[in-house]
């Protein structure tokens, strides 16, 4: 790999041990994935924040790296953590867990990483431009940035995204190169997909079928309303990244690269997949049963518009089951200013910031039966939280929270 003088200095330890380690990570990954050089990146999004996921080994590593005085040199921000910093006590989050989690957040802040604690940075004004090189790690945000914004990022791990934040660069390989962004599969959708839950189911099916491939969708009737469209495509990308490892998708006449290149964004030897029904996904994601300990929405984190729609559904109702809606602290503040949070709280629901049902310590809190509208959450909850999942539309989830049980 060809390195600049600055990069060689970083690698030789001229700028300290912490940056040396960061550059070693970037060079090793570049070597493995065949990069010829580094590319400057404009932002880094850091996953691996929740103490539930990284545990003591991750906390120790971050603590040690921070002590080496390594600091972010580009805008860098955090993925969700395992607690809501404002309300964890009220919600009964375990104190020992919360203390460790707060320490992780403090360490990262010390490293110059902003405590945005969200998987949807694009809902709080962090919106990279088309063609911009970035180093993001949250898989649904990677998919969103690559596909809907046409920014360029590989799916980074926590340490490699931090290394990119410290050094301001990442190896130029994978999805940073146009030739690796061509569709490997043409997906012909022949059944209706209307709600974000439908898009999640479609994403589940495609993720399972194509693994690391790049799909090009045809036949989708995308909602005309922009907020609904964003919610649907966010759910599609998140589910493909959870069920498979899809980091980029194209949609005919919708996504920027499909618009710019037309069919030239599809590989000559691409495979064809036809989707006639979403039933298989419904069967895989949903477990039959009535009990609901928690209805959890907001995986990925909801936008202000989604939050307003949910508030409208539960306005003047009294919920029998706990309802959590997860978002970023910034969106929650915006929602507070519009009285949406009080509407939801008056009905008995909660708006959680900084965290979500996938990375909070639900199992430790005795929460087992979970209703959700998120296909991504339905993929992860059984394995990450030993949960039993009821999957359905937002309306069906809200209905379950109102009646106190799930109706099939």
């Amino acid at each position: 790999m060809k390195l600049t003088e600055k990069e060689n200095d970083l690698l030789s330890g001229k700028h300290g041990a912490g940056l040396k380690k960061a550059m070693e990570i970037l060079v090793a990954l570049g070597k493995i994935y065949g990069a010829k050089e580094m590319v400057p990146v404009t932002s880094a999004q850091i996953a691996g924040i929740s103490y539930k996921n990284i545990g003591d080994p991750g906390l120790e590593f971050l603590r040690d790296w921070a002590e080496s005085n390594a600091r972010a040199h580009i805008p860098a921000f955090m993925n969700p953590a395992g607690i809501d910093r404002q309300t964890w006590r009220q919600l009964g989050f375990p104190e020992g867990f919360a203390k460790k989690q707060l320490e992780i957040i403090e360490i990262l802040k010390q490293m110059g990483v902003r405590a945005t604690l969200t998987c949807t940075p694009y809902h709080i004004g962090i919106v990279p431009q088309q063609g911009e090189h970035i180093a993001w790690s949250e898989s649904s945000a990677v998919s969103y940035a690559n596909s809907l914004l046409a920014a360029r990022t590989n799916r980074e791990g926590g340490p490699s995204a931090l290394a990119a934040a410290f050094c301001g660069r990442t190896p130029r390989c994978g999805l940073h190169l146009h030739e690796n962004r061509l569709a490997t599969h043409r997906i012909l959708v022949k059944c209706p997909a209307k709600t974000s839950a439908d898009y999640g189911m479609l994403g589940y099916l495609i993720g399972k079928k194509i693994g690391q491939g790049i799909p090009y969708f045809q036949g989708l009737e995308i909602p005309a309303n922009e907020a609904e469209r964003t919610a649907c495509l966010k759910a599609l990308g998140a589910a493909m990244a959870a069920a498979g490892a899809v980091a980029l998708f194209h949609i005919e006449k919708v996504t920027p690269e499909a618009n710019d290149y037309g069919e030239r964004i599809i590989k000559q030897d691409c495979k064809l997949i036809e989707i006639d029904s979403l039933e298989e996904a419904q069967r895989a994601l949903h477990q039959v049963g009535q009990q609901v300990d928690l209805v959890a929405l907001g995986c990925p984190h909801v936008s202000l518009e989604e939050l307003a729609a949910i508030a409208g559904l539960i306005q003047n109702r009294q919920l029998k089951s706990p309802l959590w809606i997860a978002t970023s602290a910034i969106v929650r503040e915006q929602a507070r200013a519009k009285n949406l949070v009080s509407m939801i709280e008056n009905a008995g629901g909660r708006v959680l910031a900084d965290t979500c049902m996938v990375v909070a310590p639900l199992e430790e809190m005795g929460i087992k039966h979970i209703g959700t509208n998120s296909a991504k959450a339905a993929v992860y909850l059984p394995s990450h939280q030993s949960a039993i999942v009821h999957f359905g539309t937002t309306e069906r989830c809200v209905q379950a929270a109102i009646s106190g049980h799930w109706e099939d």
């Binding site: 990954l29 070597k31 493995i32 691996g48 996921n53 545990g55 080994p57």
Partner: protein, 133 residues
């Protein structure tokens, strides 16, 4: 003695006894970070300790948190002293670098057996002594 050329992932020199897995390894979930024991009962190395060994396996799989597990093991003196893989990916590369464990890849692992004495010297691997068991 057999000499094999490899690709350096994290450079270093180390000599030790081989613990070999035919199956890929998921450090997160399959290895106990407080003991170094393989705790996944479905894994061929179940019950074995990876501490102090030259760990040879085809590739890693599973969560990227696996990198941190290697770091946690290293801090407790329970990490492998070297790693040899067929194809190294992100989890092991990052884990090897942050934990400073000499690691190479692009090696055919079927020429090694548990109990062999092996030396990693930067980008070269020496099979010093075959295991007799």
């Amino acid at each position: 003695m057999v000499k094999i050329t490899a690709r350096i992932i994290y450079s270093g020199k180390v000599q030790g006894v081989v613990l070999k897995s035919e199956a890929p390894l998921s450090f997160f979930g399959a290895v106990d970070p407080t003991t170094g024991l393989v705790k996944d009962s479905q894994h061929p190395l179940f019950g074995q300790c990876i501490a102090g060994k030259i760990l040879i396996f085809p590739y890693a799989k599973g969560s990227t948190v696996g990198s941190y597990i290697l770091y946690g093991l290293k801090k407790r003196g329970l990490a492998p002293i070297g790693m040899i893989l067929e194809e190294c990916e992100t989890i092991v590369a990052v884990g090897a670098i942050i934990s400073e464990i000499p690691t190479v890849d692009r090696v055919r692992t079927n020429q090694f057996h548990t109990g062999d004495l092996v030396r990693i010297d930067e980008g070269e691997v020496y099979l010093e002594e075959k295991s007799h068991c």
